[in-house]
């Protein structure tokens, strides 16, 4: 085969240039599953599944969210300008606009993350682990479209170096890497990721009369192409329509309850995702489809997903019952129409490394995420969405939950052993008694 010959030819020397060899090895193992065979003293045959395949299936499950998110970036932009109110109207413009925003974020997040990963792999002399494949696909979906790239670079650097490599690499981290990078932005540069202004991209301000911000890609590159086909093009002179605020359903709900939300957005719109928000979080049906795919393939834990749903629902019911603020009175089932609950449930909470590892533990873990997340969402004025913090919070507690589940298993076994020992003592005693009788 030609490709394998090519690979053999360009293989760098492992001793002379370890970094190059690690990179080479990383790419080679993507093209070819290596010819490694099982060793004696273990199984002679291995399951066809490996970590690469696992990770790529998570990325596949994200694809619908990617497609929708890309178009929605454009949709929100044009909605602010009062153009193309139907989601599929002006699709070429929305797609072009979305791609201009999302491609740099995707490329930067993968290049930075993988470069760090490669460097550490070379330094430690092991193969490149696949963990970042998923992280690199998740990060673009959980940031606002206008995130400055240098902030993104800083956050990924922080998350991968401090959050993962410092703990020993893939499989050893305590906190979810994608969320760690987001939380870094959240606390270090809060104005870029919270408030009403940031979720709709490409505007000088989120108020009436503001103008769109276009660059060469819009007015030069794409407008030229659209010109050839004689279709609509980007219009730099448009202005943001009257009454536009750019507020997300959650911030509206915080201020005025469910009525305030429904004044601006319909439930249909919120469910299908044509609302401002992080890039990948808005379209619930597509995310649920991804979640179902993960569950059907046995990759994502249904226990975590289900118990998180229950936890959030129960807490929302409690809020309904309490009803001390307008947000608390939002009917519990409508809580799921807003914000990023489903995305967090499907792709963040189920990360197997940072979640609990025991079967029973997963139920508790999911439940508490649902509970804590809903409390943060509704009660905390500073953060109108709670899942990121809730998941990171429960990541820290996952080992504790596991500890108690393991202790339960150990106690069961101990009780069994003690019972048995007691039985042995009892039979010995009877035997002695019988012998005494005989004498």
């Amino acid at each position: 085969m030609a490709l394998i010959d090519f690979f053999k030819k360009i293989e760098p020397d492992k001793k002379k240039s370890p970094f190059l060899h690690t990179v080479y090895d990383g790419f080679f193992t993507i093209f070819y599953t290596p010819d490694e065979v099982t060793a004696d003293g273990g199984v002679h045959m291995r399951d066809a599944m490996d970590l690469k395949r696992l990770m790529i299936h998570v990325v596949l499950a994200l694809q619908l969210a990617y497609i929708f998110g890309t178009i929605n970036i454009g949709h929100q932009h044009f909605a602010a300008l009062g153009l193309y109110p139907g989601f599929l109207e002006g699709l070429h413009l929305k797609l072009a606009y979305g791609l201009i925003k999302i491609l740099p974020i995707f490329i930067v997040s993968n290049i930075v993350g993988l470069a760090i990963e490669f460097w550490y792999a070379a330094k430690k002399g092991h193969a490149i682990e696949e963990g970042y494949l998923v992280t690199g696909a998740l990060i673009p979906l959980i940031v606002p479209p206008d995130i400055p790239l240098w902030i993104l670079v800083m956050s990924i650097f922080f998350a991968v170096v401090i959050g993962k490599e410092a703990f020993g690499g893939t499989g050893m981290n305590i906190l979810n890497i994608a969320l760690l990078s987001r939380v870094f932005i959240f606390f270090a540069y809060p104005t870029t990721i919270s408030g009403d202004e940031v979720w709709v991209s490409g505007l000088t301000a989120a108020e009436a009369g503001a103008t769109p911000v276009y660059n060469w890609w819009h007015t030069g590159f794409f407008n030229t192409i659209f010109g050839w086909f004689n279709t609509d093009a980007f219009e730099p002179a448009r202005m943001v329509v009257d009454g536009y605020t750019g507020a997300t359903p959650l911030s509206l709900a915080y201020k005025g309850g469910w009525e305030a939300v429904t004044e601006v957005y319909t439930t249909q719109q919120m469910w299908w995702g044509g609302i401002p928000g992080s890039i990948g979080e808005t379209c619930k049906p597509f995310i649920i489809a991804g979640a179902l795919m993960l569950v059907a393939m046995g990759i994502g834990s249904w226990r975590i997903m289900l118990s998180m749903l229950v936890g959030a629902a129960v807490t929302a019911m409690a809020m309904n019952a309490w009803g001390a603020s307008p947000f608390m009175e939002v009917p519990w089932y409508y809580q799921f129409y807003m914000g990023s609950f489903f995305f967090a449930m499907a792709f963040m909470a189920t990360d197997p490394v940072t979640a609990t590892s025991t079967t029973t533990g997963k139920l508790w873990y999911g439940f508490f995420i649902g509970m804590v997340g809903m409390i943060i969402r509704v009660m905390n004025p500073a953060y109108p969405e709670g899942w990121m913090l809730a998941i990171l919070f429960m990541n820290v507690f996952a080992p504790l939950i596991d500890h108690y589940v393991l202790q339960g298993n150990m106690n069961r076994r101990m009780a069994r052993a003690e019972k048995k020992a007691a039985l042995v003592v009892a039979t010995d005693a009877t035997e002695e008694a019988v012998q005494e009788l005989n004498h």
């Binding site: 193992t29 010819d35 045959m45 409690a318 309904n320 048995k420």
Partner: protein, 553 residues
């Protein structure tokens, strides 16, 4: 118990919440105040419950510290309910035939090509046999050999013994001439090789009457005749010490490993020897002899040999499920789990036959029916030979594939052998499989791989009865533990293998013991190693742990 109490508390809370929230939405706006009271009341209740639980625990801790709870009296403020130590493990046992039926869900049968056909090959003649001291765990590397090259031995004559345990004799499986005593690294003895006679002759024994003789006489006879080393003692899988008395003896009458021999076929016509063997075994234990019976339903295996069905003086336990359900370790777990202080013996069906023959006809009969299996063989079938048969004699001219690997045992826990190697002491199977030392283009992305997998990311699972050709490729590289819960899905035991493996890697003795390392041997965990996405060497890790625990204990 605590869990049940807690969950009932939770469900009551849940119902309360639901009703309050429902009424909050239906009633008019003014009810908010009333709801607030409701929530405060629930919070107060919860607070009270927490206080009660904590103080209850403190009370019990105090009782324990003062040592007043040793008589088993209840120092908790809650009444003591029925103690449920069985755990929440999924299993429903119903009375079935003449024993308990265990239906277990977890497990995986690897569908492979090359099952042995139920015929005995008569064109295969094995001439050379070897006894390998390395087959026996715990024996010192240089045992005392009592024969020399050129000596003539009969089947049952002593070959060597361990200087630490001089009473445990290792004997010749066949009669013939000693043609070599091979040594390996550090002069350790690896093989005592015998060229078999055409006509077998047997050492004559003065067989005691097992029904009337004392246990000591029986044990001495078993030691002298070489039958003792057929016992494997759990925990750790060692040959028992001469003073050990087992709680129970377990025998599995079916094997679910990939391509495993059909023990119903092997036992055919050996009913008498089998029953005699069982009768002898009952004299050795303070408990019972337990038979693990094949209770699989459906097309899997409807036939159970009458020899097993009609066996007397034993307790039968029927098992229905997937591999490793046929492993004796799994069966013990469901019948009478091994505690750290336990001593339980296991042996295979053919070992029982050897012991039975000893008491029935007075000969050490090391006859073994070996399954030659694997897709690389022309005709997978059975061979009748003796313990320690030479691989070359068994497989010469049989292998059709090129670039193959020969495994003594099954593909999960067998050992690699070369043509000039010998079968191990406990083997009843040879598997020949393809070496998979080839790269596969985009192998990890390929939806149809032609390889078995538990993963549902392969649509091949949809096509029912597909059988695969085994190869040795790892299908990916070694990685850190990432996926959780996958081992539990294939191990039908109340054990958490991943937590156990991690505790072994950090040498946490108490956790290893607590998480049940005593209940496992390598073969039980092998299916977990097969499914491992991170390609971790679980059997090796487990052996490290077992050795560590054995040293410490």
């Amino acid at each position: 118990m605590l869990k049940r109490r807690f969950s009932s508390l939770l469900s009551i809370l849940f119902i309360l919440l639901f009703s309050i929230s429902a009424s909050a939405q239906t009633s008019a706006g003014d009810s908010t105040n009333y709801m607030t009271y409701g929530i405060v009341a629930i919070a107060a209740l919860l607070f009270l419950a927490v206080i009660t639980f904590v103080s209850d625990n403190l009370l019990m801790i105090q009782a324990k510290r003062m040592g007043v709870d040793e008589d088993g009296s209840n120092y908790s403020i809650f009444p003591k309910g029925k103690d449920n130590t069985e755990g929440d493990f999924v299993e429903d046992a119903v009375t079935h035939k003449d024993g308990e039926m265990h239906n277990l869900k977890q497990g995986f049968d690897i569908p492979l090509q090359g099952v042995a056909e139920n015929v005995i090959a008569n064109d295969i003649q094995v001439n050379t046999f070897a006894v390998q001291p390395t087959n026996f765990k715990g024996i010192s590397p240089i045992p005392k050999v009592v024969v020399a090259v050129g000596d003539e031995v009969k089947a049952g004559d002593h070959l060597f013994f361990d200087k630490k345990n001089p009473d445990v004799k290792y004997v010749a499986p066949v009669s013939g001439e000693i043609i070599a005593i091979n040594r390996g690294a550090k002069r350790a003895i690896t093989e005592v090789v015998i060229l078999a006679d055409k006509e077998q002759s047997f050492r004559s024994f003065d067989v005691p009457n097992y029904e009337t003789c004392s246990r000591k006489e029986l044990v001495d006879f078993l030691l002298d005749s070489g039958a003792w080393v057929h016992f494997t003692q759990r925990p750790f899988g060692v040959t028992p010490a001469t003073t050990d008395v087992p709680e129970n003896i377990f025998i599995s009458t079916f094997d679910t490993a990939p391509l495993a021999p059909d023990l119903d076929f092997i036992i055919d016509g050996n009913g008498e020897a089998f029953q005699r063997g069982l009768d002898v075994l009952t004299k050795l234990t303070t408990g019972h002899v337990h038979l693990g019976m094949d209770g699989r339903t459906g097309p899997k295996n409807p036939y159970v040999s009458p020899v097993y069905k009609e066996a007397k003086n034993v307790r039968k336990h029927w098992f229905n499920g997937l591999h490793p359900i046929g492993n004796v370790g799994v069966q013990i777990h469901h019948v009478d789990p091994i505690a750290p202080s336990s001593k339980v013996w296991t042996l295979s069906v053919q070992d029982v036959l050897t012991i039975g023959d000893l008491f029935l006809i007075g000969q050490y009969n090391a006859k073994r029916t070996i399954a030659l299996t694997g897709a690389e063989l022309g005709k997978p079938r059975y061979v009748e030979t003796y313990i320690g048969a030479k691989i070359e004699d068994l497989l010469k001219g049989q292998i059709e594939g090129e670039n193959t690997r020969i495994i003594a045992g099954d593909v999960l826990s067998g050992r690699t052998k070369t043509m000039d190697g010998y079968l191990n002491f406990n083997d009843d199977q040879i598997t020949v499989m393809a070496e998979g030392n080839e790269v596969a283009f985009l192998g990890w992305l390929n939806p149809f791989k032609g390889k078995p997998s538990v993963s549902k990311t392969y649509p091949s699972g949809l096509f029912g009865d597909m059988k695969y050709r085994a190869d040795t490729n790892t299908n990916g590289e070694h990685r850190a533990f990432v996926v959780t819960g996958q081992y539990e899905k294939v191990l039908p035991m109340d054990i958490m293998p991943q937590a156990l493996m991690k505790s072994i890697l950090v040498q946490d003795f108490e956790k290893m013991e607590g998480l049940g390392i005593h209940e496992l041997l390598e073969e039980d965990i092998a299916i977990c190693e097969f499914v491992c996405t991170s390609k971790q060497p679980l059997q090796k890790i487990l052996r490290q742990g077992l050795d560590f625990v054995q040293d410490q204990g």
